[in-house]
């Protein structure tokens, strides 16, 4: 090979590089390791984490059972080791599955069109904000304080540099739901959209349609955000929303210390061309067979460059495939039953504890606790990771803790938690 390449050694391949730019010492990364040593290293690190603990953490990342079919499918090299399907003729597998994914996202959210995925829920929100600004030509977004606090922080980062003004909407201190009066008062001719989350960060199911009516009355749009996708099995789709931005981690994606997850954006047909990210469409091949391909690429960065709807390129395709398999395994009946189990478990636990808010909730809720940090510390000794102290993000909720129960939460752990928090048995 070297001879054919016209060089005497591998080093010769770099002869055109000025000597001063080259690295003159070896990388200080040690020798290569065997599979066994690598496995050993990561197992040891895994053991240093909270391995084998029961957990009541939710707050945007949920512990749901992952059907074994999910790993069986995504471990297939044909999916795992393929690239973005630019060459449709030899990518019909992933293209078909994305088309099915887009369809299921529409069925779940009640929207007309959904994209092939975003990085996650937190980055789907600023993409939605930039989208409503393009649609309305307005530069202000109203954002519920009950939107996931880290999503709000991400939105702030994008908005600052896009010249978007972000105004916060309060919540009702008793119910934990969005303060609709505050929304009504802050809507004006400069508002592009109101962004609300349901169930919100406190787990409370919002009246999205009432918020949408108010927004529409002021010529603004309504963006509905979800972080707990399993709730969609039971909750009515947000009929009044114009855009739905969500996080699909609940659909078979392990918490994995915060990622990789998959976000989505779905919207009404009339806003289709303002949607960022990849889209798969149906067409035919030259012999008339049904075929799928990436489409509407004129929205995207590789065609439109600085005038694209977004700079997103690589998305979360494999994670979206995991969600697709999950939705297929559970199906129409199973997703509903799964949601019903979550509802039942959370309400069993909540029934034992002093609730902080009165609003209806799905599988997460806030409780009042004298000293959330101390309770959590005590629980750790029983191999239980407690809830999220809300003071971390809401200084006004110093004695509140956010708890989550899913279908995987065991009754005995809930009883133990209730006892530790000082609730009734």
């Amino acid at each position: 090979m070297l001879e054919l390449c016209g060089v005497e050694s591998l080093e010769g391949l770099f002869a055109s590089l000025p000597p001063e730019v080259r690295l003159t010492k070896p990388l200080a990364l040690g020798p290569g390791k065997s599979e066994y040593e690598i496995l050993d290293y990561f197992r040891a690190r895994g053991a240093e984490n909270a391995d084998g603990y029961a957990s009541f953490l939710g707050a945007g990342v949920y512990r749901h059972y992952r059907p074994v079919l999910v790993d069986a499918v995504v471990s297939r090299g044909e999916f795992l080791t393929s690239y973005t399907p630019y060459q449709a003729e030899i990518s019909q597998g992933i293209l078909t599955s994305i088309f099915e994914f887009q369809t299921m996202m529409c069925q779940l959210t009640g929207m007309d069109v959904a994209n092939a995925s975003m990085y996650d829920g937190s980055t789907a929100v600023p993409e939605a904000a930039m989208m409503v600004a393009r649609i309305t030509g307005r530069k202000k977004v109203l954002v519920a304080r009950t939107l996931h606090p880290e999503y709000r922080e991400v939105l702030e980062t994008y908005a600052r540099n896009q010249g978007l003004e972000v105004v916060e909407l309060g919540y009702e201190p008793a119910s934990g739901a969005l303060d609709l009066e505050d929304l009504a008062g802050k809507l004006d001719a400069g508002v592009a959209a109101a962004i609300v989350q349901s169930p919100n960060f406190f787990g409370v199911v919002e009246n999205v349609n009432a918020a949408a009516e108010l927004a529409h009355g002021a010529g603004a749009l309504l963006v509905d955000v979800f972080t707990e996708a399993v709730a969609l099995g039971l909750l009515a789709p947000p009929a009044g929303a114009d855009i739905v931005a969500g996080e699909l981690q609940s659909f078979a994606i392990s918490p994995s210390y915060g990622g990789p997850f998959a976000g989505i954006l779905a919207t009404r047909e009339k806003y289709m061309r303002q949607l960022p990210g990849r889209l798969v469409g149906e067409s035919v091949d030259s012999r008339g067979n049904r075929a799928f391909c990436l489409t509407l690429a004129t929205r995207e960065q590789h065609i439109r460059r600085e005038r694209a709807t977004s700079n997103i390129c690589t998305n979360q395709a494999l994670i979206a495939l995991m969600a697709t398999v999950f939705m297929t395994v559970y199906g129409k009946q199973g997703l509903r039953e799964l949601a019903a189990q979550n509802l039942a478990k959370a309400h069993y636990l909540a029934g034992k504890l002093p609730l902080r808010f009165s609003g209806p909730f799905f599988n997460e809720f806030a409780v009042t606790v004298d000293d959330p940090e101390a309770v959590n510390q005590a629980l750790l000794e029983r191999k239980i990771v407690g809830g999220l102290p809300l003071a971390r993000f809401y200084p006004e909720l110093g004695n509140a803790m956010l708890l989550c129960a899913t279908e995987t939460t065991r009754r005995e752990d809930m009883d133990a938690l209730a006892a530790a928090v000082g609730g009734t048995k």
Binding site: L10, L13, F14, S16, V21, L23, G30, P31, F42, R45, A47, N49, A50, D71, E78, F79, L80, P85, I90, S91, Q92, G93, T96, E100, Q107, D120, V154, E156, N161, Q162, L235, A236, P255, S256, G258, G259, M272, L279, G281, E282, V284, S286, R287, C293, R304, E306, I312, T314, A317, L318, K332, G334, E337, L338, L343, A344, Y348, N376, L380, R410
Partner: protein
């Protein structure tokens, strides 16, 4: 004769929705160990949906057959060479997948106490240190979810530094050879984009750059090696021109597979750069993601990196949120952690010497392909190729055959097409990146295929124009897909 492929049975498969029958299920939930709850009564009847209209109803075996059949319609690295230029489609070691599924890592919640997340934080710290050694930079964030997200983070960090000096400036210079994400990123970061024309080698014209850089320029976004696969030998001079005017040098690290262990951007004037762990560091593309796009910077830019950042606190790892000059968050939590695990496994498997060998082999393989086909296709530049080589279809176009056709014909020979029609500065470009993980045998088969196609172009161009002939479907009508978008299944009415 096409040595690589033979015809193969490929089964038809309807969409899930067409496969569904009412009442079919493929799941089993445990019996509920707490009392059931009346959903309508608890949540309000108006908040409850009747059913998920159209949602799949299939059995478990139907589900696995469905996805397995679909999988057979895909090309993949596991099936054969995937020489997409700029995409670095190298083998994805399976040890990466195994370790990412380690129970204590895969099921770690981002809000579990730091005392019970030391293993995860240690992995991130070790990866940070390795990537800093590889890039020669001073500080790094692992948060960005993909390359384009890294670009945005990097440009925002640059903007924050400039703003702290009193003037964020107005525009970003981008070579016309750059990836489309670069200009889109600059726009989202609030900058105007000014394109710089490349010279004949796809390289930055240093004199032109010196003329363009003024007090309005925030940064130049450079890809090195550039998209013609040529190393920007003037990198230091370029950096000096920018620095002299208070501007910064951003490097798109998509092509780092040509440099690891040989050249460190940080030693050569680069101020901020991103890496693509799903390219250089072997984490799988998975049909388009997840990726990971860490951003490495020089010390001067470190205060502006997104929160949180890792810190050492009393012998333990902790996450630091108290960083007043930070650009803020670019993503919830700490990044695509599962991808970080895979990248670290790759770095550990190779070690320093192994990573450098991979670079040498990647450049060798690209150069070998170049030499193998350059008698049959027009090379885009005489400059030596690094990890990829770019040709044009100029010779074939005279027979009415274009780069897209040649790419499609490669499918019949058992290969994924190269990157078609990019970079834009080469008319009819054919961008080939084999990576280091292809054997000489596979490279020879690939060269034979391209030589054979060149002959077909002369003797039987129709064969190439109508390719592929052996794929499951023939050419897709992409114009129709865009004109009358059908983006979801609906039941027949």
């Amino acid at each position: 004769m096409i040595r690589q492929v033979r015809t193969h049975v490929s089964q038809n498969e309807p969409l899930l929705f067409e496969l569904s029958s009412p009442g079919k299920v493929g799941y089993q939930l445990p019996e509920l160990d707490v009392p059931p709850v009346d959903a309508a009564g608890t949540l309000g009847a108006q908040n409850i949906r009747a059913e998920i209209e159209g949602f799949p109803e299939v059995s478990e075996v139907e589900a696995i057959r469905h996805f397995t059949r679909l999988s057979t319609w895909n090309h993949a690295i596991d099936l054969g060479m995937y020489p997409l230029g700029s995409c670095t489609m190298k083998y994805n070691p399976r040890i990466n997948e195994l370790v990412a599924r380690t129970e204590g890592l895969a099921w770690a919640h981002p809000y579990q106490p730091e005392s019970l997340a030391q293993g995860a934080l240690e992995i991130m710290a070790r990866l940070e240190a390795a990537l800093l050694e590889i890039t020669g930079m001073d500080a790094i964030t692992l948060q960005p979810a993909a390359g384009a997200h890294g670009e945005l983070t990097g440009i925002l960090v640059a903007r924050a530094l400039l703003a702290s000096r009193g003037d964020p400036r107005k525009k970003v210079l981008i070579p016309d050879s750059a990836h489309g994400t670069n200009p889109a990123t600059a726009a989202i970061a609030g900058y105007a984009v000014e394109n710089i024309k490349s010279n004949g080698q796809g390289m930055i014209d240093v004199a032109e750059l010196a003329r363009l850089v003024d007090g309005d320029v925030a940064a130049l976004m450079i890809t090195n090696p550039n998209t013609l696969g040529v190393f920007e030998a003037n990198i230091r001079a370029i950096a000096e021109i920018l620095h002299a005017k208070g501007a910064l040098l951003y490097m798109d690290g998509a092509n780092m597979n040509a440099l690891v262990g040989v050249v460190r951007p940080g030693d050569n004037g680069v101020d901020v750069m991103h890496l693509n762990l799903h390219k250089t560091f072997s984490t799988p593309h998975g049909g388009g993601g997840p990726g990971s796009g860490p951003v490495a910077v020089k010390a001067e830019l470190a205060p502006f990196l997104p929160i949180p950042r890792l810190k050492r606190d009393g012998g333990k790892w902790a996450l630091d949120y108290e960083r007043g000059q930070s650009i803020g968050r670019v993503r919830a939590f700490y990044g695509n952690f599962g991808v970080l695990v895979r990248a670290l496994a790759y770095i550990m498997a190779h070690g320093g010497a192994g990573l450098r060998n991979a670079t040498l082999d990647a450049v060798l393989n690209a150069t070998y392909i170049r030499k193998g086909i350059e008698a049959h296709y027009d090379i885009a530049t005489e400059a030596p190729s690094m990890h990829e080589c770019v040709f044009s279809d100029a010779r074939q176009a005279k027979r009415g055959v274009h780069t897209g056709d040649i790419g499609k014909r490669l499918i019949d020979y058992g290969f994924h097409p190269y990157t078609v029609s990019f970079p834009l500065i080469v008319h009819g470009s054919m961008m080939i990146e084999p990576t280091e993980t292809e054997s000489k045998r596979d490279l020879d088969l690939f060269i034979d295929a391209l030589v054979s196609i060149a002959r077909e172009v002369e003797e039987e161009p129709e064969t190439v124009l109508k390719a592929p002939h052996s794929a499951r479907i023939s050419r897709v009508d992409e114009v129709r897909a865009a004109r009358k978008p059908v983006l979801r299944w609906r039941p027949a009415t």
